[in-house]
Amino acid sequence: MNPAFSCPLPKLDFSEIQLGHGSGGMLMQKLLEPVFGLFSHPALAEQHDGAIVSTAGRIAITTDSFVVSPLFFPGGDIGTLAVHGTVNDLAMCGARPRYLALGLILEEGLPIAELWKVLCSIRQAANDCSVAIVTGDTKVVERGKGDRIFLHTTGVGDLHPEAAISARRMEVGDRILLNGPVGDHGVAILSVREGLSFESAIESDTAPLHRTVLRLLDRFGTQIHFLRDATRGGVATVLAEAAQQGGKGIEVEEALIPVGEEVGSACELLGLDPLYVACEGRFVAVVAPEIAEEALLEIQQSGWPQAAAIGWVAGEHPGKTLLRSAIGGRRPLPLLPGEQLPRIC
């Protein structure tokens, strides 16, 4: 984290994005000049068609698109998400994130100030994660053909030598660990949505997870069987998918899954189940039972004091996840047919 980070808006002859900014001509050069400066990296400075970089051996590669409305929300913006999302996907493969390729799809009329703000967030998040933006692309679409900014990031990371992360490696008896309270991101976004808004101090939980994961792999290696970050669909979806992909049953205790008080209240208000609400900095680790306690401590000590052991891999109901409710009753935790919507009944 660089506390002295500042990111002044460059002086440009235009205040809004025009179609010409994606034309490959002078306007585009004008726009990109300060962008290259902002992300300053030798590979990027080459301004070549792609970047040539070195890696340590086996690599992980992942790609993700980011569309979020509104662009700026409590605790982050689309730029932060675009870095953390891809960094976390690499981390879940058991890789140390190294390089990002960044695609921008801009809507005609977008204020340059907004673009710059997003780019600055990207730079700050990339610096925090020690990843370099090494290549990129910019396109402009006509007004009405986009939603201000769409981002796309592709990430490359060095695979940890001990990493063997797969849902198929889950074994009966494995423990399920979660790094912190769920649902903050989705609720923060809803709090500023037209028609649903409310006042609260809830902020997005967007955060990079690779440092924690690398510590786990350094210490426990192949005893870390499966990792998955909870994004859309929340932690319940991760658990349902893990059970499905691993062909094992999963059981979790609702009372052990941390939910922030305000997030819980907002979910009561809108009729949402926090277990299905989006997160951007939460992950589930399925680990061998022998190391579960120590692994939990490791997660807690790497910046996640509220991390908890929430359940285990069961020998029954293969492919399905079962929840023991806060009062002891049981119910399945299936994949939802679509996104969870606020309800009146």
Partner: protein, 98 residues
Amino acid sequence: MCLAIPGELKEIYTPFPDGFRMGRASFGGVVKEINLELLPEAQVGDYVLVHVGLAIARVDADEAEKTFALLREMGELEELGAEAAAPTAAGAGEERSP
């Protein structure tokens, strides 16, 4: 049906002259503007039941307390009498099989 939850009434106001009776209620720290038209008796500090932005009832604190008093008393009486009640219930939950 009908998701309605209790919030603590923090403020009552009329947004413009002859306008509607509105208020702000806190739901466990989450604050939302609510309409109070159908609850003329509601006062700041009351807990009100809110459904789709409209307060539909005052929560009767005495009644709320009464339920608990009854439940607790019931438990204590049973503990004094036979200790069977709670364990039976726990058994019913745990050992359910097809």
